[in-house]
């Protein structure tokens, strides 16, 4: 028997769980993140002695974010294994996070016996029903012999086309029963999934290229689709050939290096002033794998009204959803841009670039060190000390926006953030997943004091696996972003934002056996940061920053970039029309 067929040939005495694990091994799965429970015991049992390393997390949400972080860094699916009922429902936030940001993860859930389904059995939850709106696809396995086909389909579906989470619900009797299928590598049966990797239509690209002719103020907008298809090199070629400035969404960070002279950094609600000025004044905007999210276009009626709008997206349903483009191409960003660059010529953008240089000089990102330690200083110092080379995972809130502004990314898969879902508690476990994916890379989790406390128990996971993750806690003792809104739009009537009772984060870290650093003065910042980043092993850096700082620039939700404010307004502001 040759090696290949021994891989796909099931063993005689295999059960469903063993067939499942064998299939995952055959796909080259390195890690499974998860937490056990009754209904999942057969699967955990099958992992004993497997090549796959099982990483026991302290909560199922942490497991999903770790798989997500791993997937964003490697481009390979992250796999999660949990039990039924509450174990399964605890993954919902992580599944939503992966869905909103198009991240390939596979969530395997244990389930009660098939004979007990729908009878309120102990730890029964209809998890495939609960998650239906937030998965790319899902399965409830009813036949042991279907396991290899379903796993193969899940593996294929989650990472092709527009990636996303796939859930596989596995009743205990199905994983326990003998496997009598013929192959571990059967044919897939997904006749409706033809659109896995759409080839872009040449004619659409030709049509799109024509719009560039004679334009003087082009703008390239890089989104997560560019990162997912690794379009960076092609975009660089296109930008340099056109002489076009480039801006990026929160999730598009780094795919076009933010240190490149043509980069304007992030645009949108808390984007740079110059990126938003470019948005107002451009005569052509090309979205490369961005879905014109409401964080960047605010008010659709005022969005780039005078500019030709071009859209590249792998997902046809994104075309016309928010913005009606003048031309569009459905396809992988990299493939499309590689073709497009051949069809366009240099544009006369000298004046446009001068205008951008003026805005960069006039409205730079800035902070003061005179009134105490600020989050901006901490993050800027982190950027400088790590020379911009760290993989950064952020949580959600003010620190996330400051990190996006001050930690300039040069690689798309070196920036991890929950963009679409805005999931607090994402940053730290995502950093752990990233460290598993890139064991030799410096990984920094930049988190707030609020979000960190939602998933901090994964300090155990870091300790057990000796992962040298650096956790930078920006502690302003508030849910800062909401406090900022309440200050600016709700007469400073603070409600539900004061995080009194925060723990001593250094002692907390030490109680997990992890080194803690502390800083609360501007003059300490650099030396503490140096020491912490050079520390061999995991550590927590507790940065106590001034409490009532605000993120600027800011465009109130529901408004266009015209309404951007770059510093604290003196007059009262009207309540924003956008949702959040």
């Amino acid at each position: 028997m040759n090696k290949e067929s021994s891989k796909t040939q099931p063993k005689k005495s295999m059960n469903g769980a063993q067939a499942l694990v064998k299939c995952l091994e055959n796909f080259g799965v390195e890690y499974i993140w998860g937490l056990s429970g009754g209904a999942a015991i057969p699967i955990f049992d099958a992992l004993v002695g497997s090549k796959i390393k099982l990483i026991l997390t302290r909560h199922e949400q942490g497991a999903t974010h770790m798989a997500d972080g791993y997937a964003r860094v490697t481009g390979r699916p992250g796999v999660v294994l949990v039990t039924s009922g509450p174990g399964a429902t605890n993954t919902v936030t992580g599944i939503l996070t992966a869905m909103m940001d198009s991240v390939p993860i596979i969530v395997l859930t244990g389930q009660t016996l098939t004979s007990m389904l729908g009878k309120d059995a102990f730890q029964e939850a209809d998890i495939s029903g609960i998650t239906m709106p937030v998965v790319k696809h899902s399965y409830l396995v009813k036949n042991t012999n279907d396991i290899p086909r379903i796993i193969k389909e899940a593996w294929h579906i989650c990472q092709t086309g527009r990636p996303g989470p796939v859930l596989v619900d596995l009743p205990k009797d199905i994983t326990s029963a003998p496997f009598s299928g013929e192959s571990l590598d059967p044919e897939m049966d997904i006749p409706g999934y033809k659109k896995d990797t759409p080839s872009p239509h040449k004619a659409d690209i030709v049509k799109m290229a024509k719009f560039f002719k004679g334009k003087k103020k082009p703008l390239l907008l890089v989104g997560h689709g560019a990162v997912l298809s690794r379009a960076g090199a092609a975009i660089k070629k296109l930008a340099e050939k056109l002489g076009s400035p480039v801006t990026n969404t929160l999730l598009g960070k780094g795919e076009f290096p933010e240190t490149h002279p043509l980069s304007l950094g992030m645009l949108g609600m808390h984007g740079t002033a110059y990126a938003n000025k470019a948005l107002i004044n451009c005569d052509l905007i090309l979205s490369i794998g961005s879905r014109w999210d409401d964080r960047i276009n605010g008010n659709n009626n005022e969005f780039c009204v005078d500019a030709k709008k071009l859209h590249i997206d792998v997902d046809f349903s994104e075309i016309n959803k928010i913005v009606k483009p003048d031309a569009w191409v459905v396809g992988q960003a990299r493939e499309v841009v590689e073709e497009l660059v051949k069809l366009v010529g240099p544009l006369d953008t000298a004046d446009w670039l001068k205008e951008m240089a003026y805005y960069k000089k006039e409205f730079p990102l800035k902070y003061s060190t005179n009134n105490g330690l600020t989050a901006q200083q901490v993050i800027d110092t982190c950027y400088k000390v790590t020379q911009g080379k760290a993989i950064v995972a952020t949580d959600v809130g003010q620190h996330q926006m400051w990190a996006a502004q001050f930690y300039r990314a040069d690689k798309g898969n070196h920036w991890l953030s929950s963009g679409g879902a805005g999931t607090m508690g994402y940053g730290f476990p995502a950093a752990i997943g990233a460290q598993f994916a890139a064991p030799n890379n410096l990984v920094v989790a930049i988190v707030g004091d609020g979000g960190f406390q939602m998933t901090l128990y994964e300090l155990s996971t870091v300790f057990v696996h000796k992962l040298p993750v650096k956790v930078l806690i920006i502690d302003n003792k508030y849910l800062g972003m909401v406090r900022q809104w309440q200050e600016l739009f709700f007469d400073n009537r603070l409600s539900g934002v004061d995080l009194e009772g925060n723990p001593d984060f250094v002692k907390l870290a030490e109680s997990y056996g992890i080194k803690g650093f502390h800083m609360n003065k501007p003059e300490q910042c650099e030396s503490v940061m140096q020491e912490a980043m050079n520390y061999k092993g995991p550590c927590v850096i507790h940065a106590e920053v001034i409490k009532e700082d605000n993120v600027f620039p800011m465009i109130p939700a529901g408004k266009s970039a015209f309404h951007m404010i770059v510093e604290k307004p003196t007059a009262k502001m009207e309540k924003p029309s956008g949702s959040t």
Partner: protein, 164 residues
């Protein structure tokens, strides 16, 4: 409320569990009210045909069709092609009376109606036709009193060689 246009959407799906729920979720999330929904087998036992009529604006319909098409178990989804034969079947229960009997007899040809059952003083009248024809007959027979009514919802198929 303004009158929203009625659309007929034809969906070819793989016979997999949960496919109906997934499709219904796409409609519900975007505020589309489903008026009727027919699921029926096709000549290939692996696939089923859903014929859905629903009310809503065109822009949302475009999003719905694209998102239904994205579902893994959906082979094809589209607003129905113009060149189709469409039919619906209704069963109407009325009190049995000579007047109703005469009325049905008079309209047998025009509306394709007939009395299927007469028991315990009730008639069950069967009608096949287009949705518009069913609506029209219902309005006419209303004056005799309708005790109960049930309709299958619209089904349609394209004319000629083109598949639906």
């Amino acid at each position: 409320m303004s009158k929203l246009p009625l659309h007929t959407i034809s969906v070819l799906v793989a016979n997999k569990p949960g496919v109906l729920v997934r499709i219904a979720l796409v409609f519900a999330r975007r505020g589309y009210n489903i008026d009727s929904l027919v699921v029926s087998p096709t000549v290939n036992p692996k696939f089923s045909r859903m014929t859905i009529t629903a009310k809503g604006d065109l822009e949302t319909l475009e999003q719905i069709i694209k998102n239904v098409n994205k579902l893994i178990d959906v082979i094809h989804c589209g607003e129905h092609p113009a060149n189709t034969v469409e039919k619906e079947l209704a069963l109407l229960k009325t009190k049995a009376s000579p007047a109703v009997k005469a009325f049905v007899a008079k309209n047998t040809r025009k509306f394709h109606v007939r009395i299927d059952d007469a028991s315990e003083g009730c008639y069950i009248i069967e009608q096949t036709g287009t949705t518009a024809e069913l609506d029209e007959f219902e309005a006419l027979i209303r004056k005799y009193g309708i005790l109960e009514m049930i309709r299958t919802g619209k089904i349609l198929i394209t004319r000629g060689k083109e598949t639906t």
